[in-house]
Symmetry: C2
Subunit: 254 residues, 2 copies
């Protein structure tokens, strides 16, 4: 049995609590939050606390706190033999207080508080300073059914930027499409299956191979007509820049 | 039984042929292609032809030909009592030869020749000059299991631009993420569940509500660090522009 103390009650903390609780060989000993009210509903499932000094000894302490709080919280922890890990995509492993054995357990996924998470669809990027600690984190990932990958702090930073492109920026493409469709009384539902299919395609085919459309075809007539239709200057600018980006990817001169 | 002559053997034509063939109350009478070789393998299922003048009378003639060919092909068709429809996202209904009853049957989806298409996931945008013709096209959509929407030529143009955003531009976001991950020996598989989840979220929640990340949070520190990490000038430019777009959407000053 791997014992864990969990710190933080945001989306990541809450979903990790559920995943750890469901795993047969992981046990959450204490759950810490500055704001006990936010996790009050779990009081019958786990021991809650809001005082770092009252944390007992466990195999792992998981800091699911905001990026800015990682260093401070790790400094304030009591001295422990446990492995202290953070869950952030951008914080350096060395930002954890050096009194501790240190590691990273970064889930690459977007979480909503209300939606149940299938952890088989949550890749975990693992880093540790010691080989045994790396193996321990790999066991935890495996216990909650997640695939895991060995990722250095430097790689993790790049992964975090890449995640902004596939998550925040793709979502903004959907948003702009929503603005366009709403502006012309077109039901946004019409575009939903296309959104699904576009994401599905790159699960088996590279984004390079999956590309289609006027930019890739270098179809100047359609591009010109689209630019004329777009009413928002920022939409025009985005259309032009991303069309250039696709042309560059597919070997066309800008 | 609704009888159809199908013209064109590209992705759309081929998938429509299969959908029509599977529908119990639609029958494909003839399949026309300039290049008979490309549909030779279907010769036992349907009568093939490469001569427009040999087309028999049917209820509907579906022109699944390239945008540029719609007007010409519709002019070269023999005079018919059938309803002549094109399948393009951008061609005006009036570009069809005015000798004919005219309509549009535009599937909003991305097709690959090899991949089987589930037509319940292919919204059909329907337009016709006559009410009865509109009803006829609605019946065909329903026969192949597709949801259908009444969309005017003008709306269809906007829908086509919006489709470029959710399909081509989202895919380019995946491509850039792939470039970043490849450049740092990071397995692109790590990002695939996030791509799926991002597309899944907006099936039930608006893209506005689904947005997260540094741009929405106005997290200047992370944005600055990301821009420093990005090595490609075009990636930097895209990051900056889309960050501005998200800030604008979420009411932050640029």
């Amino acid at each position: 049995m791997i014992t864990v103390n969990l710190l933080g009650s945001g989306n990541v903390g809450t979903h990790l609590f559920k995943a750890f609780s469901n795993a047969s060989n992981v046990s959450v000993n204490q759950w810490y939050s500055r704001n006990l009210k936010s996790i009050q509903s779990f009081q019958n499932e786990v021991s809650l606390c809001d005082d770092l000094s009252s944390l007992d000894e466990t195999d792992i302490l998981v800091l699911a706190v905001s990026d800015d709080a990682v260093a401070t919280v790790s400094e304030q922890l009591p001295t422990t033999n446990g492995l202290v890990v953070h869950t952030s995509g951008s914080v350096n492993i060395h930002d954890l207080d050096k009194r501790h054995r240190r590691g990273v357990f970064y889930p690459v996924q977007t979480f909503s508080k209300e939606v149940t998470v299938d952890f088989s669809q949550v890749p975990l990027c693992i880093e540790a300073l010691e080989k045994d600690d790396y193996q321990l984190l790999k066991s935890v990932a495996s216990a909650i059914g997640s695939p895991s990958y060995k990722i250095s702090t430097e790689q993790r930073q790049y992964l975090h930027v890449a995640a902004v492109f596939v998550n925040n920026f793709s979502n903004q493409m959907y948003r702009i499409a929503h603005e366009i469709s709403d502006g012309h009384h077109i039901n946004f539902d019409i575009l939903k299956p296309l959104i699904t299919e576009t994401a599905k395609k790159v699960q088996t085919v590279s984004p390079y191979m999956a590309q289609t459309g006027p930019a890739k075809r270098h179809d100047k007539k359609t591009i010109k007509r689209h630019l004329k239709l777009l009413e928002d200057d920022l939409h025009k600018e985005i259309y032009t820049l991303l069309t250039d980006s696709i042309k560059k990817t597919h070997g066309k001169k800008l």
